[in-house]
């Protein structure tokens, strides 16, 4: 039980948010360390993997990066089903995208599995001059809903690694609290594939 260093967990992570908020760019910054100004629009969803080594554990992420256009909404349950974590992204230069993000937060709170870790992310922080959503506004909403909040920039890499580390740490912590016997992770069908130990 105390062999923390060798612990390894696999976690499904989903990104949700309005089209052009920068979901794919955040993932590509994290997974490949790359950024391109014009990222191909995602259709359906794209899949990435990345391994994060923390002191607590090694976290293997299966990342589902979803399409942002409103009509693709009907596909979303397929992607967040069984997810251990969700990142809801908006673009600080678009109030519409913030409104959309709030809808996502509501939906995920309601529909996804209850142990899911959710973060609210305000992306494109490098575009300060065009900002439409204040930092306080985002932070306050996150607080009200018990979410972690980060302002990021996929372009400058600001807070991008921090974001994924934060998720990794939380998942590792949640995992170890399960392991110390407080409550065994329930294996109900729909939670399978979410968070499981493969050490």
């Amino acid at each position: 039980m105390a062999r923390n260093a060798n612990k390894s967990l696999q976690a499904k992570l989903v990104l949700l948010g309005d089209m052009g908020a920068g979901k794919t760019s955040l993932v590509l910054r994290f997974v490949k360390g790359q950024f391109s100004e014009y990222q191909e629009s995602t259709i359906g969803a794209a899949f990435f993997t990345q391994v994060l080594s923390l002191n607590e554990a090694t976290v293997k992420f299966d990342i589902w990066d979803t399409a942002g256009q409103e009509r693709y909404h009907s596909l979303a349950p397929m992607y967040y089903r069984g997810a251990a974590a969700a990142i809801v992204v908006y673009d600080i230069t678009s109030m519409d995208s913030f409104v959309r993000a709030k809808k996502w937060v509501r939906e995920v709170q309601r529909q996804a599995n209850s142990s899911l870790t959710m973060l609210l992310v305000a992306n494109k922080a490098d575009l300060e001059d065009e900002r439409k959503v204040s930092n306080e506004e985002g932070e306050e909403y996150a607080k009200e809903n018990g979410l972690s909040f980060l302002e990021t920039s996929a372009k400058t890499a600001q807070n991008v690694n921090e974001l994924f580390y934060e998720i990794g740490k939380r998942l590792a912590k949640a995992k170890s609290s399960h392991e110390t016997g407080m409550r065994l992770h329930s294996r109900a069908g729909q939670d399978r594939g979410g968070l499981f130990c493969c050490a």
């Binding site: 969803a45 693709y72 009907s74």
Partner: protein, 395 residues
Amino acid sequence: MYGTKSKIDLAFEYQSQVAVLRPSIHSRRANLTVKFQDLYGFTVEGNVDDVNVLNEVREKVRQQGRVWWALEASKGANWYLHTTIGQGSALTSSLKFSALANAITLKKLIRKGIPPVLRPKIWFSLSGAAKKKSTVPDSYYDDLTKAVEGKVTPATRQIDHDLPRTFPGHPWLDTPDGHATLRRVLVAYSFRDSDVGYCQGLNYVAALLLLVMKTEEDAFWMLAVLLENVLVNDCYTNNLSGCHVEQRVFKDLLAKKCPRIASHLEALEFDVSLVTTEWFLCLFSKSLPSETTLRVWDVIFYEGAKVIFNVALAIFKMKEDELILTHHVGEVINILQMTTHHLFDPDDLLTVAFDKIGSMTTNTISKQRKKQEPEVMKELDQRIRRLNSLRMEDK
């Protein structure tokens, strides 16, 4: 030094140089990756073997071109337009017979590929686009684009957002001229059918149509016939219900045609629509190399949307042995992505799609769709109600 050459010549030149590398054991051992432009200007990354495959494909395309020209010489220009069977009760039996013979020849021929130079002409007539266009005044497209110029709608905003994100880096599509042309086609269509408006995915489809058809008006009509006559209804509207139906039909077909794969993936809790949704919405344009995509489209425009199922099933079928050994969702996706990205020889795919998958008639597919529709509608409806009730609570 290439100043006077067109892009396509340049691509040829580069590839023939690379092909010389083949005998070198060193280069093969090093598994060299080279970047080059394909026939339609897309940057392709591949190893030396891929380059060789592309050269072979180019040779096959040339041979196929000769077959088409020979037929034109013997049967007369536009012979392929006289293949409608069944409607012409006034035809004499000998004419009917020749029409039937032509139809059989044509079907085989199209599955072997339409030469790129003939594509615009043949697609336009065989898909029904020409007929569609002929039912409206000649000035329809010009009038439409002029009438909607400068109008701002949610659709136009989304189109503007996606223009630079549609095959970025393409030597023509990613230029001001390319963006403006693609914009006119997509905006015009969004006004022609406001139920569809603009759906992400159509940007890739329209872009590829532009590259093939060369003129934007023809590309517009191809897009219209595709959405209005070729594909299942409501693929791109509102909640993509048509696409949901197709995904369910596909799952059933996979279970029937590739039972080992289907049951293995089910055990992994891998929902195939995680990958196939994009194939259906972009008609493979984001996953397959361009010439392979267009070979698939050759057949779609002649035989109909059922072809998408054949091709999607074939991609799974080709990798059956690997897929059933996977332990994890990520492996499945990697196999499928690697496979699609490297399918440089269209015949590798189409042979499996038509010879190994077995025939499926449009009729059987339609029946399957009918069967799935009520369930999809029910599910989407329930979902909307749940979301609405969330919204009510917020207030």
